[in-house]
């Protein structure tokens, strides 16, 4: 959990303070703007996002590389 991610993101979405469903919706809207192979970092403090963002990303054809939970903050690294 405290390991630093080895993957380096290309873009970041800062969703701190936003409740569901907006973090998941913004993630799905942002992904097509990346080039294939690029990585998006999503930072969210909506705990519910743990049940949304990873499953939605996979369902929509992206690869979830890491999910890190540090206290109230969760980081998702998703590759297009």
């Amino acid at each position: 959990m405290t390991d630093e991610p080895v993957v380096v993101p290309d873009y970041r979405l800062d969703m701190l303070g936003e409740p569901c469903p907006y973090p998941a919706v913004a993630t799905l809207e942002a992904m097509p703007r990346l080039q294939p192979g690029e990585v998006l970092e999503v930072i969210s403090d909506c705990p519910q996002s743990i049940n949304n963002i990873p499953i939605d990303a996979r369902n929509h054809g992206y690869t979830v590389l890491t999910i890190q939970q540090e206290g109230p903050t969760i980081r998702y690294l998703i590759r297009r």
Binding site: P19, C46, N51
Partner: protein
């Protein structure tokens, strides 16, 4: 497994929602057997509204709605009341264990308006239908009360309208996609995490001790407290969200939570059936237009608010300010319904029958009808998922072709 691993895996990391919802189904079944009532929260929220009005000098105890649901004593004297205190204790303990309490302020004022308005609509609709995501759905369907099926179907439709509405540009705050070259460091203060964990244990142990002490004085109250703690732990640790179960079918095509809830209900129904066969009276409500109108309002309201009556409870204690407003909206909406109930009840509810599927189709027939309907619900969810992604892939291909040209 040593203590540190156990702590990380079970007390800090989130739980998988599928087993957690099934566990909630099992626990809610025992809860019915142990206390004689079903797991429900909004009736008690309505009573809170009634007590507030009493403090202001009004006499809501004379209203017809409170004649039905009762307004005697204080929350500490009622099964629903102590169960909800247990639930809050479970939610607080679970959030403290994971250092997941943080004051999260809304990013935009529109969120407050949507929380209050959605909360009022959902609270009003839930009580009009005599339940919420619990009593008129998750624990209502296993009671074999037809009204819960009306409510569930109407909630699905209402949530579709809610999903369309809440994605309007009005509600979208600008989000910037930033170009970065490094991950943002994530850190939490280990000292604070440790202190929060210990505080969570204190809350948990005090609540359990209260529940056990109460068991000897008044067994039903004690069981209600202990089950409440269990419900609270489950909904916070697994982030069980009935709103997302409906809403995200339409928005992102995700069916995970919806399927989990169907399984949870299926596990519960046979257990409730066994208690009913042994002579416990099921809770049956009017299967009138109230269940449909209430479901439509509830479905729309929970999506607008971002959470339902159980959803705001754990999010509020996590420090999500947005959900304090949803909770307030729920109490206001439920109280408004109680206030106007006497005028609308005959036309919408009380002139209709309370339909028990176990009486209409006989015990085995009613049980079969319930499982067939659950099977149809599951099939509909799976078909919808397939349709959603086929349609999405088809439009993506068309867009891709246009782009290539």
């Amino acid at each position: 497994m040593n203590w540190q691993e156990f702590k990380r895996q079970y007390l800090i990391q989130f739980w998988n929602p599928l087993p957690a919802v099934i566990a909630a189904g099992v626990l809610s079944t025992y809860y019915f057997g142990l206390t004689g009532t079903f797991w429900a929260v909004t009736g008690e929220f309505t009573r809170w509204g009634g007590h507030l009005l009493q403090l202001l000098g009004a006499h809501p105890e004379s209203w017809g709605y409170f004649q039905i649901i009762g307004l005697e004593g204080t929350p500490l004297d009622r099964i629903d009341g102590v169960m909800i205190i247990g639930m809050f204790a479970g939610c607080i303990a679970a959030a403290l264990w994971a250092n997941n309490i943080k004051l999260r302020r809304p990013q935009s004022r529109i969120r407050i308006y949507q929380a209050v308005a959605g909360g009022i609509i959902a609270g009003f609709g839930a009580r009009l239908a005599m339940g919420c995501n619990l009593a008129a759905f998750f624990t209502g369907i296993p009671q074999f009360s037809l009204h819960a099926w009306f409510f569930a179907a109407a909630t699905a439709v209402g949530s579709l309208a809610g999903a369309k509405f809440t994605l309007l540009p009005l509600f979208r705050t600008p989000v910037k996609l930033q170009k970065v070259s490094t991950a943002r460091p994530l850190e939490q203060d280990p000292m604070r995490a440790r202190n929060r964990f210990r505080l969570g244990m204190v809350v948990f142990l005090l609540a359990v001790a209260w529940g056990i002490a109460e068991l000897f004085a008044a067994p039903k109250m004690g069981f209600a407290i202990l089950c409440g703690i269990g419900f609270g732990l489950l909904i916070e640790r697994a982030q069980i969200c009935f709103t997302s179960a409906f809403r995200d079918l339409w928005i992102t095509g995700r069916t995970h939570m919806a399927k989990a809830i169907v399984f949870g209900i299926a596990v519960s129904a046979i257990g409730i059936f066994s208690y009913v066969q042994l002579g416990v009276a099921p809770k049956i409500m009017w299967a009138g237009p109230n269940a449909i109108v209430g479901g439509l309002m509830f479905g729309f309201g929970i999506v607008l608010a971002g959470g339902c009556e159980t959803g705001w409870m754990y999010r509020a204690v996590e420090g999500q300010v947005h959900y304090w407003w949803v909770g307030a909206g729920n109490v206001i909406g439920a109280t408004l319904l109680a206030w106007c109930w006497d005028d609308i009840a005959p036309a919408l509810a009380t002139d209709y029958d309370k339909i028990n599927l176990l009486e209409v189709f006989g015990p085995i027939g009613g049980l079969m009808v319930t499982y067939i309907l659950l099977g149809i619900a599951l099939a509909a969810i799976l078909l919808w998922e397939r349709h959603f992604f086929r349609r999405k892939n088809a439009t993506a291909t068309v867009k891709g072709l246009a782009y290539d040209r």
